[in-house]
Subunit: 158 residues, 2 copies
DNA sequence: GCCAAATCGTCAAGGCCTTAACGATCTCGG
DNA sequence: CCGAGATCGTTAAGGCCTTGACGATTTGGC
């Protein structure tokens, strides 16, 4: 426990009526995610000319080959409006193609261009090398348990 | 493991050369953080008239009673420029006071107003109730191990 | 058939994040 | 004692996120 968490815990103790284990888990979850996301953005995504959001959308489409904006939004956990904006940026860089579904003209189908596919695989290889390095301190059992808890929580939220 | 993770894992297997445990941990960490942060913003922060960023800054200052922008930025894991903007918004709502340090006029000292203090404690009580509910499925041992792993990773990153 | 309701994607307004450049202020070596 | 360099906070430009409103399109009950 670092000094920030210690100080916050003491302050919450004065406040009273707080569930400490739940605070500790949530507090550190958000700190870790913020820190690590910032790190990846600086060392992986921006050097590839992408934002974190752009990378996530690109990666999601790459996994499924073809997706509609609504599905990208659901899988990425953001609003469809946000996806619409990010797709505009990615399309301007010729990393994705959008086309209207002829059968239902409300729908849009998104695919990667070959440039988009090359970029996302290159970026993800670099990200995974970083992930490998960052998680290297943990025992395999501890890492597996950590991932299982994350999955449990995700299921609980959805 | 849900369908998205399964599909992504299969796609990465085709790609080759990927550390699967590191992918699984990182992938689910970011998904959980994004989902839960969005949930808290919708049910706790916005109803209190705050953004997530505004709440985090307010909470950080509340823990320490008084802080300088640079320290808020380091503790929150964002840039000083971002903190400057958020403080402007919070000050416009009369939730924080800023004053120049007379001894070193480059420095700014930030404190909560009484309205800011009431708002942040009310918002955090509601957030903690939600955290308690969301983590209630986990055994105390599993939750403690999860939090410990988060702390280990945070230390590794800083 | 046809109009009301549902659905999809986009736009608008307000706020936040990044890096880079900048003015103001302080420190310290010559 | 004074100018070069360091440090602090702010601003600028570009991008992303939210909710809410909107036009286009499709569906379903009558």
């Amino acid at each position: 426990m670092d000094r920030f968490e210690e100080t916050a815990t003491a302050r919450l103790e004065e406040l009273g009526g707080i569930d400490r284990p739940a605070f500790a888990a949530s507090f550190n979850l958000f700190r870790l995610a913020t820190q690590y996301l910032g790190h990846l953005e600086a060392v992986v995504h921006r050097p590839h000319g992408l934002s974190t959001a752009g990378f996530r959308v690109l990666f999601t489409v790459w996994v499924y080959d073809e997706l509609e904006p609504r599905q990208i939004a659901r899988l990425s956990g953001v609003s469809t409006a946000a996806v619409s904006g990010v797709l505009g940026t990615l399309e301007a860089k010729d990393l994705v193609d959008k086309r209207r579904d002829p059968a239902d003209r409300r729908l849009v189908q998104v695919r990667l261009t070959s440039a988009g596919e090359e970029l996302v695989t290159s970026a993800y290889r670099m990200q995974n090398a970083d992930e490998q390095h960052v998680f290297a301190d943990l025992e395999p059992d501890e890492l597996a348990a950590f991932t299982d808890t994350l999955r449990t929580m995700l299921e609980r939220l959805s």
